[in-house]
Amino acid sequence: MLSRIQFAFTVGYHFIFVPISIGLALMVVFSERRYFKSGIPADKAASNFWIKLFTTTFAIGVATGLTMEFAFGTNWADYSRFVGSIFGAPLAAEGLLAFFLESTFLGVLLFGRKKVSKGFYYVSAWLVLIGALLSAVWILIANSWQQTPAGYAIEDGRAILTSFWAAAFNPSFAPRYVHTVVACVIAGCFVVASICAWYLLKKRHVHFARQALVTALVVGLLASAAMPIIGHWHALEVAKYQPVKMAAFENLTTTRKNAPLYLFGWVNGDGGTTGVSIPSGLSLLLGLNPDHEVKGLDIVPPADRPPEQLTFQSYHLMIALSFLFIGVMLLALIMHVLKRLENARWLLWLLVVCFPLPLIAINMGWVATEVGRQPWIVQGLLRTSDGVSPVVSAGEVWTTLGLFGLIYLVLFIAWLRIFLGIIRKGPEDVVEMLEAERASAQPAPAGAGR
């Protein structure tokens, strides 16, 4: 149980920074593209600003990501023994095929502005984004395999790979990948919109903020609007391959036709649900027919069912939030088209404060999918309780959990201070930037650095 808490805590934390950095990587590519084409210093200053925010966030993503890889060996030794043949490969591939690319060219973005050509710098921005998207491919292959294992055989109590393609492109990979990446884009757009809206409220860097805000609103609206369709695709796959999880999402206790779809609700002590529902809604969504039979929790014994309340609430909170995102983005974009956005201070404030919501939605989605799979760590094959390290004592996990809590708290405070500090400073002033460049272009006086 302790190892579960530690894993959930460290992943949840990691999963705050990853979406922000993927979203910001996209913004870096956009702004660097603009500078590459225009060559005007203001665009360079804008791009530098996003790069600073991106790298600050990325640093935490890297550091906390290493925790995840190690955790399989440290806390989940028996799980590692069981799935190593399959689960380890994508992790290694992630390092070899994605992280090398991402981190190497991140170095160029951080330190190479003066050392490489403009074109190469622009390509580097792309390569960092591609590296990030590739790493998401591999880690989600690994995760999807836990949900919908495929391409394996069990030999001597261990899962052995029998088909690489079947295991990699297991049933839930494609919808999960699109769903997760688009969610990260939404989160990134909300962070960008929040920063820009704040500048507009404070009447600072107005030109910069306007430009970036439009990008964030357009991309954000497209991504948010696509989400119900992508989510539906994903839900169909879950209903087909993980019916118990689907049943837990809606707390459908018995297999039935005319299964209702809850807008919100509460799982009662007796297992029923109190709340507002659309009659036959779930049957309609999953089978386009009110008479479509949806499998309930009763298809498996109680010991094989996930915790209903947590699964239900996290799933519904995610969905409610995702519809809110469409509304906010749409409203802001309409007001922008009507040229009334900058006077609507309430709406700008709304954009400022909304940025944590997509991060909450993403974490809720993750809770829903992982808790909804319980009691299994690999769906149908290995129970979570059978995956933990036999030799790691509760005392040791308590110690490290405490240290993780402390270190992550300090990191979070530091990250927030620095992130807000960069925002408070804003993009560089173009005149100052040009002067600084002129000064550094002159040969350094002899003896400098001594």
Partner: protein
């Protein structure tokens, strides 16, 4: 050579790549409080590793992932058995990564980040050697391949000796890097440290060799009984002589850096040959519980697929890594330390 053996040496190669590459930036981090006195000097140290440390750490991610995929039993045994030690490495790497990125943006916490950078470099630099020492010496384990000893038993004299030897090699390597990248006072101090730490390492290396021959004869017999073992011994001797020779010359910083890199490679090769075909030998328990390349390997198809991935992935990674090192070659000046 069997597929399992190829993977044994590939995992060893990736982990060696990690020690060679991240080794110098860890070493630079350990030396940081001692060689860099002014704010400018500190900035030069951080900037010299700034563009590359992240890519260097990917070698650990790739090596760890490859071990997980190719030898899940070993991954599970060592990571859970060395739980607290691994966690300390992890905390070190986290603190270090974050302090490097944050220090520049955050003047008011500069002392906190400086301390985090030093400690975060020191912990992995010591513990990596300690883990290696235990893996050479062998660890007690049961039939499931679970570690049966305690945390304190990991801190046995032999492993501590390997740890300290490794630390001084890493610090020498870091000093060689700083000598290569810096000028003026900082350069002079780095050259001084390089000399001192190298000779301490040399004395410790002799002690480690003697201890290995006396207490872990299995490993020394393996090395002395195999052509590949002799090959790495010869490489080691040449690397040491080359390093000593280059260190005495002025302006041969790159060559002396390559000398310490080659020393690490030779020592890692010797350690790998010494253990093969065992990966983690059992100690004090029946020897048939030892984790070997055959009984701890994962499925055949996994090893084949992984080999394809490595062949596709590694060459371009090496190529653009080399390109980035070339882009950032030369001395780092305080003025162009740009974030």
């Amino acid at each position: 050579m069997s597929l399992e053996s190829i993977w044994f040496f590939l995992v060893a190669l990736l982990l060696t790549g990690y020690v060679v590459l991240d080794g110098f930036d860890l070493g630079a981090g350990v030396l940081y409080p001692f060689v860099a006195r002014t704010e400018d000097e500190k900035r030069v140290v951080r900037s010299s590793i700034g563009p590359v440390w992240d890519g260097n750490e990917v070698w650990l991610v790739a090596g760890g992932g490859a071990m997980f995929a190719a030898f899940p039993m070993v991954y599970a045994m060592t990571f859970s058995g060395f739980y607290l030690a691994i966690m300390l490495v992890l905390f070190g790497l986290i603190l270090r990564a974050v302090s490097l990125e944050f220090r520049h943006h955050d003047q008011s916490w500069s002392r906190v980040w400086d301390g985090a950078f030093f400690l975060g470099s020191l912990a992995p630099a010591i513990l990596v050697g300690c883990a290696l020492g235990n893996v050479i010496r062998g660890v007690p384990m049961d039939a499931n391949g679970d570690y049966t000893g305690t945390f304190l038993q990991l801190l046995n004299p032999y492993s501590l000796l390997v740890a300290v030897t490794g630390l001084f090699l890493i610090v020498t390597h870091g000093a060689a890097w700083l000598a290569l990248k810096s000028e003026g006072q900082l350069h002079a101090r780095a050259v001084q440290w390089r000399k001192i730490t190298f000779w301490i390492f040399a004395v410790l290396a002799v002690a480690t060799s003697a201890a290995t021959i006396l207490t872990v004869s299995r490993a020394s017999d393996n090395v002395l009984g195999r052509p590949l073992g002799w090959f790495f011994l010869v490489v080691l001797a040449l690397a040491l002589l080359y390093t000593i020779w280059q260190m005495t010359k002025e302006g041969a910083e790159l060559k002396s850096f390559l000398g310490s890199a080659l020393t690490i490679i030779a020592l890692a090769g010797i350690a790998a040959v010494g253990n093969y075909p065992e990966i983690v030998p059992a100690r004090g328990t029946p020897p048939d519980t030892s984790l070997t390349v055959t009984n701890s390997a994962s499925g055949r198809l996994t090893l084949q697929v992984m080999l394809v991935i490595a062949i596709i992935g590694l060459p371009p990674a090496l190529l653009y890594t080399a390109y980035v090192y070339r882009t950032f070659r030369g001395k780092v000046k305080a003025a162009d330390a740009e974030y």
